[in-house]
Symmetry: C2
Subunit: 222 residues, 2 copies
């Protein structure tokens, strides 16, 4: 229903709302949310409209309620179990990041070709040999896969994950994955990203995102 772009923004709003909640802020206006998440007030309202959450014209949006609403919209009620394939630097970064977190996302299993890495526990996550992939993914009811292996193995790994029943992939390998049309792929290509930055660092574009520049009467923001 919602576009890929707007899901990304909801994710960002959620983070800001969590911070606000932590700071015991109870209500927030669209322009405040926009400024903190990087964006524009109209768009915030539009996005929230899409998930069917209503604010009040005098107090804005209820932080806790909105947060709940975004969670209800985005997260699977049972949570989502994720498999990580490739326990290199990128893999470890993800494990470390999700270790502490109390998200609805859990990295339920990690895999690596290197037998030395297998059967260890990293950041609370069991690490298996790659041969066990299909069995474990099925057993653990894993729905999402992270491909963090070298380019040469990426397609193979993706195939295995898909066969095992995964319907979403996060791909760090710098090759496009061929998957059935009903499998969603999100690519994170660091080299490409850096090339882009290098380009725009020289070609100063119309700025990417204006922060904190609502020319509203911005009552109290930071």
């Amino acid at each position: 229903m919602s576009s890929e772009r707007s899901i990304g923004r909801l994710s960002r709003y959620r983070r800001v709302l969590n911070e606000l909640l932590h700071d015991s802020v109870s209500h927030v206006y669209s322009y405040q949310l926009a400024s903190r998440a990087g964006g524009n007030a109209a768009q915030v309202r539009y996005d929230l409209m899409a998930i069917g959450y209503s604010g009040s014209p005098n107090s804005g949006y209820d932080v806790q309620g909105l947060l709940k609403s975004i969670e209800a919209f985005m997260d699977a009620p049972e949570g989502t179990r994720v498999a990580l394939v490739g326990v290199g630097n990128v893999g470890r970064a993800l494990l470390a990041y999700f270790a502490g977190r109390r998200t609805s996302l859990t990295i339920a299993a990690a895999f690596d070709r290197d037998p030395a890495k297998a059967s260890h526990v990293l950041h609370g996550c069991r690490c298996y040999a790659q041969t066990e992939l299909e069995a474990v993914v099925r057993r653990e009811d894993i729905r999402v896969g992270i491909v963090a292996v070298p380019a040469a193995q990426a397609q193979q790994v993706a195939d295995k994950l898909v066969t095992a029943g995964v319907t979403g992939l996060l791909n760090f390998a710098p090759v496009p994955l061929r998957v059935p049309v009903d499998v969603f792929v999100e690519d994170i290509d660091m080299t490409m990203a850096l090339e882009k930055v290098a380009y725009f660092a020289r070609h100063t574009p119309r700025r990417k995102r204006t922060r904190n520049h609502e020319h509203h009467h911005q009552t109290t923001e930071r």
Copy 2:
């Protein structure tokens, strides 16, 4: 001149072209490039039009010539020097990746708050204490910065990099950076990306990218 989106695609075409070159393929049609890079033939032609490269209706595009053309368009002739701040898992992943590469991008210096990491050499890159940041960035004529530190330090690091003269940032911290409008920021937020995948894994969207489905008379593609 070119949009952020199309720069991303050029970057992808470039990689495909490099592979083709390596495989001694001399010419390529727009639909082949599209299928390999993930996209559509018309768009490939449109993108190439934008950088002013012309193919021939009978043999398509000259691989080597097109590659040169994309490089000339995207890369700084002197190359671009990059600073990495934060030598954690993400930082190391980037260092490892760029170590072997013969790109126009060079990670010329790395920085970390942890003195134990400083003054080592990782993957051929000298690692400095973070106090030296501004001096080294200026001395080494660095134009792009990578922010790979925890969220709490990210803004501070960005400020320092910007003061030192960097005009592009690649940000891995899950916070929006406030920077002057003439500094370009590209965010890579792995958590957000994973949340997005989790969402679309359950909501099977109109497929993200159709690969290899030109209903052309696709002569010979894989």
